[in-house]
Amino acid sequence: MTLQEIIKQLDLTLLTEQKDFSEVVPTCGYASDLLSCVMAGARHRAVWVTLQSHTNVVAVGALLELSAIIITEGATPDPDTISKANEEGVTLLLTEKPTFRVTGRLWELGLRDS
């Protein structure tokens, strides 16, 4: 499952710059709104689902080298956060749907927790 398929299937809005997402294959998924839990639990190249949208999600995404961060419930980050994400090479995706729905869909598509 490539990130490109995930973006298409879940109809996610790309907030950061376009990359070749057909080359990005996430290893697994993780959902939490607590940053330290993510630091502990999300794997390298995972997709992280959260409704946090402040600038520190970018730091977490960069440090863990996540495949993408899916921000739920339309919690749009401010432009500074988006430009920081571009600087750090972190992909931010946005959806109106809640976290539960997004993780459910990701699971259906075959993404697992490890």
Binding site: L14, L15, T16, E17, Q18, T27, D33, L34, L35, S36, C37, M39, A40, G41, A42, R43, H44, R45, T50, Q52, H54, T55, N56, V57, V58, A59, V60, A62, L63, L64, E65, P79, D80, I82, S83, N86, E88
Partner: protein, 355 residues
């Protein structure tokens, strides 16, 4: 600005500019201002004289595979002759006519020292396909097309990339090139209290430095996570912020954070997974899970937390390079070796239900 540079070479579907698009073009946009026309133009230009025949122009265009040429008399640019002009001459069966009769004399030009963006603006505002370039003495210095600009920008982007490679190469040889009994590189970062926008800056800079120095990516990641948590602790808890310091040696990385208060009443309790003193406001941002120190412990080989209430806290973290230490992850010996990214033994520290 976006509109001006977007259209010529960087057309995007849909038309509306999102924040993402803006940052995507920002480096290219910067380059359009940084690069000068002379850096991307073609300077070995085929020119014709006003007295040449249009038949000569036809032959020149065919042989040189070009679609336009400046017209020069006594070293001065007097016009430009293009494929369109040639077609006009051809339809009239008038190839024996001189260039003077068919050339365009209303000239748009750019200067060799202009930023590339000036040429982009002209291409955008007019229908011309090429612009003659003049030097400071008003003499023809070259010619510039949209294709030249695209090539020039791509080459400059490639150079950016190579510069990063070179930086990385140089840094990775730092420890080999400098001879001493003990060489170390010290990085220091001042952390401001409650400045969340700065959060993660020290850790990502340290991580990048380690990668440039040639550290194993997994080690760099572990350092990054440990420093991030320590850095956030300073931002969230330290009265006056504090200092992050990383001392890098060829075989060990010593990282520490120092602050002058408020201090931790019970360090043992602070180490307990799920224990946090963070305010409700900070928890809403996703901090205060009570796992920061546990994360640090999992990522480093040695950790020492010293604190006294009222006077401050000092946290020391050490990561050994080159397998100086036995396997750090005895709980998960089976974990695949290729992607054992973040050290993960959080099962061992109990579930984190803190919130």
């Amino acid at each position: 600005m976006q509109d001006e540079i977007r259209k010529p070479g960087f057309e995007r579907k849909g038309g509306s500019i999102t924040d993402g698009t803006v940052s995507l073009i920002s480096r290219v946009e910067e380059l359009a201002y940084e690069l000068e026309v002379k850096e991307v133009m073609t300077d070995n230009v085929k020119v014709v004289s006003p007295e040449s025949s249009m038949a000569y122009v036809l032959e020149l265009f065919r042989q040189a595979r070009i679609s336009g040429a400046p017209v020069v008399a006594d070293g001065n640019l007097v016009g430009i002759v293009s494929l369109e002009d040639l077609i006009r001459a051809l339809t009239r069966g008038n190839l024996e006519a001189s260039v003077r009769d068919y050339m365009t004399t209303e000239l748009l030009t750019v200067r060799a020292t202009d930023p590339v963006v000036e040429a982009l603006k002209l291409f955008d505002q007019t229908q011309v396909g090429r612009l003659p370039v003049l030097d400071e003495r008003e003499k023809l210095a070259g010619i510039i097309t949209k294709g030249d600009i695209t090539h020039g920008l791509l080459a400059a982007l490639q150079q950016d990339y190579q510069l990063e490679e070179i930086k990385r190469y140089r840094a990775s040889h730092l420890f080999e090139d400098i001879i001493s009994d003990r060489t170390s590189l010290i990085l220091r970062y001042a952390i401001e209290p409650r400045n969340f926008t700065q959060g993660g800056a020290a850790s990502s800079n340290i991580k990048r430095a380690l990668l440039r120095l040639g550290a194993d990516p997994q080690i760099a990641r572990r350092c990054g996570i440990a420093i991030y948590e320590a850095e956030m602790n300073l931002i969230i808890h330290a009265t006056n912020g504090g200092l992050v310091r990383a001392e890098i040696e060829p075989h060990v990385i010593l990282m520490e954070t120092i602050d002058d208060g408020p201090g931790i009443e019970d360090t043992e309790l602070a180490m307990k997974a799920g224990y946090s003193t963070a305010s409700e406001e900070i928890r809403e941002m996703g901090f205060g899970a009570g796992l920061g120190l546990n994360n640090i412990q999992r990522c480093v080989d040695e950790m020492k937390l010293q604190s006294r209430l009222g006077s401050g806290t000092r946290l020391e973290m050490k990561i050994y390079l080159n397998d100086q230490k036995p396997s750090r992850d005895p709980q998960h010996p089976d974990e695949e070796k290729t992607s054992n990214d973040t050290p993960r033994d959080h099962q061992a520290t109990g579930p984190h239900l803190a919130d």
